[in-house]
């Protein structure tokens, strides 16, 4: 019996002295055809036309971007979609100083922000470019930087980042309402 094997385990002579297994690799791969649903399908199609769609809560009228098909406020399907602006303001932001694996194009420090497009009731996540990170601030007005028209796809990646418009900031009491 190998000294490396716990004494209570009996090992056949044929594998006595064989190096114990420390780990096994059991790769899992499953292929799916992603089905985004009605709301997200409309959202992604509109993205190709450089339009941002939000879902309207049937009870409160609040507009969620991206639309997820269902309003948590009402617990109902959101039948109505509306276009929101491709500009808005920064609700909050974070400056990252370490590299993101797989995104070697992002040179630290970079800024991830919660951007609320005009016409939307909530924000969604985006990168902020065209400004030094230490100049970024809550309330700053930004607009979407769209990919060149020939590169547009049915994808949220059509907006690689948002950049400042240079207009006066949103007043502090309107930043989160």
């Amino acid at each position: 019996m190998s000294a490396d094997v716990a004494p209570e385990v009996s090992v056949p002579d044929v594998i006595a002295g064989v190096e114990p297994v420390q780990s096994v690799r059991t790769p899992i791969r499953l292929d799916y055809t992603y089905v985004p649903g009605r709301s997200l399908t409309a959202y992604l199609k509109a993205m190709k036309d450089k339009r941002i769609l939000g879902g309207v809560c049937p009870e409160t009228g609040q507009v969620a971007v991206p639309p997820r098909g269902v309003s948590p406020l009402a617990g109902k399907v959101t039948e109505e979609l509306v276009e929101v602006a491709d500009h808005g303001h920064i609700m909050s932001f974070c400056v990252t100083h370490i590299p993101l694996p797989g995104r070697e194009d992002l040179k630290p420090p970079f800024v991830a922000a919660w951007v609320r497009p005009e016409g939307a009731s909530i924000g969604f996540i985006g990168l902020i470019t065209g400004i030094e990170p230490d100049e970024c601030r809550i309330g700053m007005r930004v607009r979407a930087v769209w990919k060149p028209d020939e590169e547009l796809e049915e994808s949220a990646e059509n907006i690689p980042s948002w950049e400042p418009t240079g207009e006066p900031d949103v007043p502090e009491n309107e930043v989160r309402v």
Binding site: T26, V35, G37, R38, R68, V70, G75
Partner: protein, 357 residues
């Protein structure tokens, strides 16, 4: 009010379901949300009237990460709710909700489960539920795993291929008027036996009828149930048992966890008017009928065809409970039993006895 055994009286008071071969364009939250609303509306409840919410689903089925979180939006979880989730058939979510009501922490519950298997290959996805070291790495598909159990039953003389075809023909014929069936049409065992094997000894009709779908049910205790519906379907027995995860360690011609659960719910204590059995394969349907000792002469078994004509992963078991409860509420049955299963070769089994007043 509590019963003689000290348990609270809890009833299934409403349900709503959808089941199709493929739900083409809707996401899971988009087709589950209307079911949740329909089941609550049927008894005049809003989410504010629900004490506990529990769901059953698996992100692996649709390949949609965090789908169970997205679906909670459909409940309307604002203001915050008391909520839980099981990665099992919704019948086990119902069990958790029933326990919650037994503790007194809730008087009512919303239970729902769903899946969309059409975006992936379910027979491969199911390999991931097997033992991860010895079995899953070999990727045995679900039809092959089923075939092992069928072969064992045939070899032991417990059933014949003709019996299997008869069960399938009965289910498909029963399903003619079932709007939720995805495999239906009057047929005969002779006609089905003339078809080719898909996974020998299994033919197409022996295999689960894959479907996309969902089900929502509302539970209510005591007077909450009596106020909600004229004739509540009271849960008078609820038990689930489990066999070994190692398929090789089991005698696949037997279903000991089914027999034990039947004993615990007192199934044999009285007549059974109606049975809804979650036999996704034809031979499992036969094994269940034999193990539970059900006689088609005195018990209406799967009048809509059961899971053999529509087997929505994660939901087919809860659908059986909902259908059995509907039979009691309508007065078609005084005492009904519903069965749900999960895991390879019916590893885990749940039985629910429902009675009218």
């Amino acid at each position: 009010m509590s019963t003689a055994n000290g348990l609270r009286e809890v009833a299934v008071v409403s349900s709503a379901q959808i089941q199709k071969r493929v739900i083409e364009d809707q996401s899971e939250p988009e087709f589950v949300t209307p079911l949740i609303n329909e089941a609550r509306d049927a008894v005049g409840f809003t989410q504010a009237d629900i004490g506990f919410t529990c769901s059953g689903s698996s992100d692996f089925v649709a390949g949609q990460a965090f789908s169970f979180v997205m679906t909670i939006d459909g409940v309307g979880p604002v203001p915050p709710i008391s909520e839980s989730h099981v990665e099992m058939d919704g019948a086990w979510a119902l069990y958790e909700a029933w326990i919650k009501i037994q503790t007194g922490a809730a008087d009512t519950a919303l239970v729902y489960s769903y899946s969309k298997s059409s975006p992936g290959s379910l027979r491969d996805v199911l390999a991931t539920q097997l033992d991860p070291y010895y079995q899953a790495p070999l990727w045995p598909d679900a039809f092959a795993i089923g075939g092992l159990q069928a072969r064992a039953l045939l070899d032991a003389g417990r059933i014949s291929e003709a019996d299997m075809a008869e069960a399938a023909a009965t289910a498909q014929t029963n399903a003619v008027d079932n709007p939720h069936a995805v495999r239906s049409g009057a047929t005969t065992a002779e006609a089905l036996l003339a078809t080719d094997y898909v996974a020998d000894p299994l033919r197409r009709h022996d295999l689960p009828a894959g479907a996309d779908g969902g089900i929502a049910v509302v539970l209510a205790a005591g007077d909450h149930a009596r106020q909600a519906v004229e004739r509540p379907a009271w849960i008078r027995g609820l038990d689930h048992r489990i066999d070994s995860h190692q398929i090789g360690a089991r005698d696949l011609t037997q279903a000991p966890s089914v027999a034990l659960a039947a004993e615990k719910v007192g199934l044999g204590a009285d007549k059974v008017d109606h049975a809804e059995l979650h036999g996704a394969f034809s031979f499992q349907q036969l094994l269940l009928e034999q193990t539970l000792g059900l006689d088609p002469a005195s018990t209406t078994i799967n009048p809509g065809g059961g899971a053999l004509v529509g087997n929505t992963m994660m939901a087919a078991g809860l659908m059986r409970i909902a259908d059995a409860a509907a039979a009691v509420r309508s007065g078609r049955a005084d005492r009904a039993v519903a069965h749900a299963t999960s895991g390879p070769c019916m590893q885990q089994n749940l039985l629910c006895v429902l009675e009218g007043d």
